[in-house]
């Protein structure tokens, strides 16, 4: 691969496609951007930006009343001269003289207006007290909040961070000051956890950080009151993750179309006879989209940072997005190499969008809730934007598997980027086999392929954990054991993924006549594939970089790669070697089936899956 040639291809990819975009497409893209901007604006304004409820309550109050300031600070109130006749005519909902309510709320709207005024008064008092020079007098009662890490994934406490709650204390100890409410119509406000420190909420722990950015996103700049502490749903994580994911889906559409158009009518054939290598062509055609997607992520980060919505946003957020972009583009590249038409490409890209968006988006929702969130690089983005530090181990755990998976997918797709595979109209499953067979030269390729495909296995297994961990709390009686439904399902999914990863490339090798169809050869190839997987499986040790094993479902899922602590040496040694025996035996079974055709392969694979599941289930039931 030569950089200058790659850059030339990249330059012409931009030039060529720029000339090919018609006005209608530009209009659609512009409208999409405007729509996204509008969504973001509404999200940033906490849904009140459109001012739908401005001035809906008419209140009669004069400037001498203490409630005048309360109503003036709340845009839902329309302040008018106190007029009893207007109240009678239903033209004013509330009427105050001094501190006295002079009207009797009779209609639903009048009662709602009174409730709104009470809420506003409580917030007004909090803000007033927070500005007081004497904070001790303002908040005479101090309450220390300590958040305990919950065991088990069903404890969804969005503030279960590092134990330091929102605080204005400089040492971040999590101590909060509180005060007694005035007991009047302020709804019994108990105090303010993050008051008095201005914007200092970001200096505290994770909970405080999310609270702070949540306050900005919802327009509640005061925050910190007990009612703010534990919202049940991490809205802010969702919004931030959404902002980063959506543009990628637009980029992969353009990228997939460009790649597929090279294949249709043999347009790309002439590029293959130039001095540019396959790597130059693929790299050059991919680079503009990679740069574009990363650039958009950088722009979003900058906008959030300089728009004071997420002032802590930094290059970490952008770097964390890179593996996701690579993953999206590589999957699309493979899809474009597999699809036979734009119709098929649409199906493929929709599948990719749904699958990868789920992989990236769902775990990020649980940022600060459970270690499972770190499965997605988007979690790092959320952490960075909320001012929380991202450790190197967390960064590696979140980013390396998707990055390696992306590179593997590019490799598989590149295997098809040659004349004899690129322009054939074979069904997608056969194209997948073509791609796998591209890396097979000899028997030893079985070992290599099992190792090479490991990043795909890791990402698929981590995604399975992320999707199924919510079922961890549901118990299931399986074979007399009381396992959680989540663990049983995740074991099943993982077994299927691993057995496919070990055997599919072997089947592809047989289908492409790369292996001899003899029993001896099949057993040897299966054993090599199993050995390769056993070696590669140790890559799952990357999970050690996270706290994934602290969860029962994580421990069950990763038991093949890691050993429980405190075992006698001989047991540990046995448990270390047993997976090798398991993988070689099950891979050999599948290999023998693969050597005898498709039906025999499916039957043998099923047997291998059953054996593997029985083994895993036994180990988990016994040790985990």
């Amino acid at each position: 691969m030569q950089l200058d040639t790659l850059l030339r291809v990249a330059k012409w990819e931009v030039t060529k496609n720029a000339g090919g975009v018609d006005k209608r497409t530009i209009l659609v893209m512009a409208l999409s951007l405007v729509a996204m901007g509008a969504v973001a604006a509404i999200a940033v304004s906490g849904g009140t930006g459109a001012g739908m409820d401005d001035g809906i309550y008419r209140i009669g109050v004069d400037e001498s009343s203490p409630y005048y300031g309360v109503a003036a600070d709340d845009s839902t109130f329309d302040i008018r001269e106190p007029d009893p006749a207007a109240v009678e005519r239903r033209q004013q909902e509330l009427l105050y003289r001094g501190t006295q309510l002079r009207s009797v709320p009779r209609t639903a709207k009048e009662r709602a207006a009174l409730t709104e005024l009470r809420d506003s008064t409580a917030q007004y008092n909090d803000r007033t007290l927070a500005r007081d020079d004497n904070q001790t007098a303002a908040f005479p009662v101090s309450v220390t909040l300590v958040y305990e890490q919950q065991s088990g994934s069903s404890q969804l406490d969005p503030r279960s961070g590092d134990g330091s709650g929102g605080s204005d204390s400089s040492d971040g100890s999590g101590s909060s000051t509180g005060g007694s409410g005035d007991g009047s119509d302020t709804s019994g406000t108990g105090g303010s956890a993050a008051s008095g420190g201005g914007d200092s909420g970001t200096a505290g722990g994770s909970g405080a950080n999310l609270g702070a950015i949540g306050a900005r996103l919802t327009g509640d700049v005061q925050g910190g009151t007990p009612s703010d502490i534990s919202p049940p749903f991490p809205f802010e994580s969702l919004v931030l993750a959404f902002l980063y994911i959506v543009p990628m889906n637009f980029v992969i559409q353009a990228y997939g179309s460009s790649m597929l158009s090279e294949r249709l009518n043999r347009r790309g054939e002439l590029l293959l006879v130039t001095p540019a290598s396959r790597g130059d062509i693929i790299g050059g055609k991919t680079l503009p989209y990679l740069a574009g997607a990363v650039g958009v992520a950088a722009l979003i980060t900058a906008a959030l940072r300089f728009g004071n919505i997420a002032p802590a946003g930094s290059y970490v957020a952008v770097l964390a997005v890179v593996p996701l972009v690579v993953l999206f583009l590589s999957a699309t590249f493979c899809g474009a190499m597999f699809a036979r038409s734009f119709k098929e490409l649409t199906f493929v890209t929709v599948t990719i969008t749904v699958t990868l968006t789920s992989y990236a988006f769902v775990p990020a929702i649980f940022t600060d809730v459970t270690p499972i969130a770190l499965i997605s690089p988007l979690t790092l983005v959320v952490l960075d934007l909320t001012g929380q530090s991202v450790g190197l181990s967390s960064f590696v755990f979140s980013t390396v598997p998707p990055l390696l998976t992306g590179l593997v997918l590019f490799g598989l797709g590149a295997g098809l980027y040659r004349e004899e595979d690129m322009f054939t109209q074979r069904p997608i499953p056969l194209k997948v086999l073509d791609a796998l067979a591209g890396g097979i030269n000899s028997r030893r390729s079985a070992l290599k392929m099992s190792i090479v495909l490991l990043p795909l296995v890791i990402v698929a297994e981590l995604a399975a954990i992320a999707f199924l961990f919510v079922l961890d709390s549901v118990s299931l009686n399986v074979f007399g054991t009381n396992q959680s439904l989540g663990i049983v399902l995740v074991l099943g999914v993982i077994v299927i993924i691993e057995e496919l990863a070990k055997s599919l490339h072997v089947y592809a090798g047989y289908e492409h006549a790369r292996y001899e169809r003899t029993l001896r050869s099949a057993l040897g190839i299966g054993a090599l594939s199993g050995l390769g997987f056993f070696i590669g499986e140790k890559g799952l040790l990357i999970a050690r970089l996270s706290d994934l094993e602290s969860l029962p479902i994580g421990e069950a899922a990763l038991q093949g790669a890691t050993l429980p602590a405190g075992l006698p040496l001989w047991v540990a040694g046995l448990l270390f070697m047993l997976p090798l025996a398991l993988h070689t035996v099950t891979a050999a079974i599948s290999s023998v089936g693969a050597s005898r055709g498709r039906r025999a392969y499916v039957a043998a694979l099923t047997v291998a899956i059953v054996i593997h599941f029985a083994y895993n289930f036994t180990v988990v039931s016994t040790l985990v």
């Binding site: 291809v9 347009r267 054939e269 002439l270 006879v273 130039t274 001095p275």
Partner: protein, 300 residues
């Protein structure tokens, strides 16, 4: 200049080309002819480095056909060359000049010279809006943008109208006169006959005949004798005041003479006519195939 040694290509169990060997000298125009599915295009693509031979090897100017250095010296024109339709001829040619690392000034001059020679107008029109003939001219110009020593043209006049076809063939002949080494395939054997120095005939993935036209005629064709007599003889037709009988052997010529003399006449002229390449090709094709094109799978 080109050396193909026992190149063979299999797709699964199907043998597209069965161990072909040939060489092409510098400045020579080499034709590959054969019926559809004979393996011509596969052979040309192996020479161009687009397809990796299952076995055997091919070299151009001493370079393996899969190296970038070889591709730098090659101009390839596939049978169908769909272009980037959103580009103009100029931007398209600049794109490829860039990929071949041609100096921009040289490329600019070369592309305009070639398009002038090809008489291509409307150079700022998008390729998608051009006729098939115009697109073919652009494709030919692209194959020359790197000033290659070797040209591999697969059916260069395929699907074009007669006028454009003649133009393309004449232009190819002109390139040959400029010293380019050309490997050329075509269905129209008249075109091959008119510009090729040597020819191979492929059938069912195999080279079944080779040589220059005279050699092929000698081996696979035959000579016809046009015997003109002053009197009518059996099977004769009247032509320009005399009678012409076409026979295929000297014995038949002698027999015609005897018949004419028996009728009081004489033979006034004898002319010979050699087989056309088309006839040679048909004769070779009728000879049938020599082997199977499917590889037997090893059974356990």
């Amino acid at each position: 200049m080109i050396d193909a040694r026992d190149i063979r290509k299999e797709y699964g169990g199907f043998v597209a080309v069965q161990g072909s060997s040939f060489s092409v000298d510098r400045g020579e125009v080499f034709g590959i002819i054969g019926p559809n599915g004979a393996g011509k295009t596969t052979t040309l693509k192996m020479l161009a480095g687009l397809l990796e031979p299952t076995s055997g090897s091919a070299e151009i100017a001493g370079l393996d056909t899969e190296t970038a250095e070889m591709r730098q010296q090659l101009g390839f024109l596939p049978e169908e060359s769909p272009l980037y339709e959103e580009m103009t001829p100029i931007s398209y040619l600049k794109f490829f000049a860039d990929l071949y690392d041609v100096d921009p000034d040289v490329a600019e001059e070369r592309m305009h010279d070639t398009l002038d020679e090809l008489e291509l107008e409307h150079r700022d029109r998008k390729l998608g809006d051009m006729s098939k003939g115009m697109k073919r001219k652009v494709a030919i110009a692209r194959s020359l943008i790197n000033d290659p020593d070797v040209l591999i043209y697969d059916e260069p006049a395929s699907g074009l109208d007669p006028l454009t076809t003649n133009y393309v063939i004449e232009f190819t002949e002109q390139l040959a006169n400029e010293g380019k080494t050309i490997v050329f395939s075509a269905h129209n054997l008249f075109h091959v006959e008119s510009i090729c120095d040597r020819v191979v005939i492929m059938n069912e993935g195999e080279i079944v005949a080779r040589g220059d036209l005279e050699e092929l005629q000698a081996e696979y064709g035959h000579t016809r004798y046009h015997v003109y007599t002053t009197v009518d003889v059996p099977d004769a037709v009247q032509e320009n005041g005399s009678y012409k009988r076409v026979v295929e052997s000297m014995d038949a010529v002698e027999e015609t003479r005897e018949r004419a003399e028996a009728n009081g006449g004489d033979v006034v002229d004898i002319r010979t006519e050699e087989s056309s390449l088309e006839e040679v090709f048909l004769n070779v094709a009728e000879a049938g195939t020599r082997g199977t094109r499917y590889v037997e799978e090893d059974a356990e």
